[in-house]
Symmetry: C2
Subunit: 345 residues, 2 copies
């Protein structure tokens, strides 16, 4: 039962991280202000890559920093790393061990860039190449599918972005995340029961946009890893540029559509999917209109601000993937074909 | 029959583009050398986004330029565009009309960045915000699914990268692309016949890495748009970090694995998929070992260099998608639910 208990640990982990890593985050923020950082160059794989997607929007919106996601093969196989002048180089990895992610940080240091490791293993190869280490302090994660290391990675990014921005209201909002998470976890029994309906679903599309583009990717990854459902994530805009063609009547769609700046764009797409394609909708939201469209509405608290909604909205998605795994009779602790640490070059 | 004839037009379009746009490309390259460009910020959607993925590897490997893919919603919905100091801002759009892509170029100009539009419509909104315009001169593309505008976008990027690099051997290699394309198109009858085998395939995974990460995305997009097959693209490394769990015995996998620096990594994954999962493999390659693993081997010429292989390897993929569309009895000219020009914000 590691997966289930790790999902339930998240409110406490988030809460203590906010206290224990504040000083380190302030030091990183000071270094960012001191250097002439013009953009962020970020390397990650799998779940950590989804935390990188969150950073892409948040560091852009709050800190004016463009973000380039690294293409690790340029560093490993091609041995032609780009010039990283004035970049902040970030590596995110739960284990701190994947050679391709480590190689990006090593190259960043070689080029005299400011380097930052975000990891659950502060004594790993990744941190040896880093000027600063944000230790996500998620504790031992036993289940192969990452849950608490994802939300603590998101929290680390959110803390950094809030401190670099400087507006104190953001920190106050961070202090509420743990409570919002707790209230969402109360839906566990409802989700366990509702997930039965999807026992024979074998494919789905997961939609999210803006800050929750990351949530769509992470929800889809949990479904793939745990339930073996072919789940493909999209922004609602990319989805309209072609892939919508494959949708047939009754096709199941998962969507993360909390209130915020991109809500209308998501809502219009969901309405179209419902009306034009009779799509089956599983919707995570705090907007009544969006929830009313869904056969399976998953509610998050009304007062969650959009920038923090990825930290809260991934919890019902994790529970949904967990209970669907059980409904399908699969092993939630050790999915077939994958291992906790994947070492790719 | 627009789609089929547009696929077959590609060798000629590529050949004339190389001559007609050389001077413009030289001017853009001179401007890049003159400015202190530290990274590229690129906005695109759909097929053009896949051309952006090619640019990500090529501008990195040949020109040392990191590339950030824009998150257009930061410009449109959030109205918090990042600071683009020292960025070359590129917009790629066949129609030059999608408001979100235009808004990124407009903001780039407002911030005094060097701006470049790559488009088939040199008189569109996109070009009004651009210092330079690379006209891909693909001619009128009537089929909804883009083919010749994709390869002419790739060619424009390849020409720019070769000139910025300065090594004349690259230009000589560009002059051979048209001939390689022509020879690949001769496999049309073989592909038409072999595609029958996939008449009832309803989902697949498409693998590619490095330069051909773009090819995997574009092949998957053609399959989704035309054949309505749920096709999800991955790099072989990302695939190993979780999604491989969903693969069952006999699952169909498409792969682009030409000779080159990432070949071994791709080959090891294909071998594993064949041996461990009895996967069904459709493989585009010029390596005999890789082709021997496939139930459906699609050959490209032996002497295509890796950096230009995306321009050649997408052609059998387009033909495969086209013939599978016919085999499934669908409309290859006007797929359901999508239109030639998609205007997203």
């Amino acid at each position: 039962m590691s997966l289930y208990s790790e999902i339930n640990e998240q409110p406490e982990r988030i809460k203590s991280l906010l206290v224990s890593q504040k000083r380190t985050v302030e030091q990183v923020a000071a270094a960012i202000h001191k250097h002439d950082i013009q953009y962020v160059f970020l390397a990650a794989r799998g779940t950590s890559d989804n935390a990188g997607r969150y950073a892409n929007y948040l560091l852009g919106a709050f800190n004016g920093l463009p973000l380039a996601l690294a293409t690790p093969s340029l560093f490993t196989y091609y041995k032609r790393p780009p010039k990283l002048k004035n970049a902040l180089v970030i590596g995110i990895s739960q284990s701190g061990q994947s050679p391709d992610i480590v190689s990006v940080l090593v190259e960043g240091r070689r080029q005299n860039c400011l380097t930052l490791a975000i990891t659950n293993e502060p004594e790993s190869s990744l941190t040896q190449a880093a000027d600063f280490v944000l230790d996500i302090q998620a504790g031992d994660e036993k289940a192969v599918a990452a849950t608490k290391t994802y939300t603590t990675e998101l929290m680390s990014v959110a803390m950094l972005s809030a401190i670099v921005n400087g507006n104190k209201k953001y920190w106050k909002e961070l202090e509420k995340v743990s409570g919002w998470m707790k209230s969402v976890l109360k839906q566990n029994d409802f989700i366990a029961q509702s997930a039965q309906r999807y026992r024979y679903m074998d494919q789905t599309i997961v939609l999210g946009r803006g800050f929750n583009y990351a949530t769509a990717f992470e929800w889809a990854l949990k479904l793939k890893e745990l339930t073996y459902v072919k789940a493909e994530p999209y922004s609602s805009a990319d989805f309209a540029h072609g892939p919508i063609a494959m949708i047939e009547n009754g096709f199941p769609i998962m969507a993360v559509a909390p209130k915020g700046k991109v809500f209308d764009s998501m809502y219009q797409m969901l309405k179209r999917l419902r009306e034009e394609f009779s799509a089956e909708l599983v919707v995570i939201s705090n907007d009544k209109k969006a929830l009313a469209l869904a056969q399976m509405p998953l509610t998050i608290p009304a007062d969650v601000p959009e920038w923090l909604s990825p930290l809260v909205s991934i919890l019902p998605a994790q529970l949904f993937a967990y209970h669907l795994t059980l409904a399908k009779g699969y092993n939630a602790e050790n999915p077939r074909s994958i291992h906790k640490v994947t070492k790719t070059k």
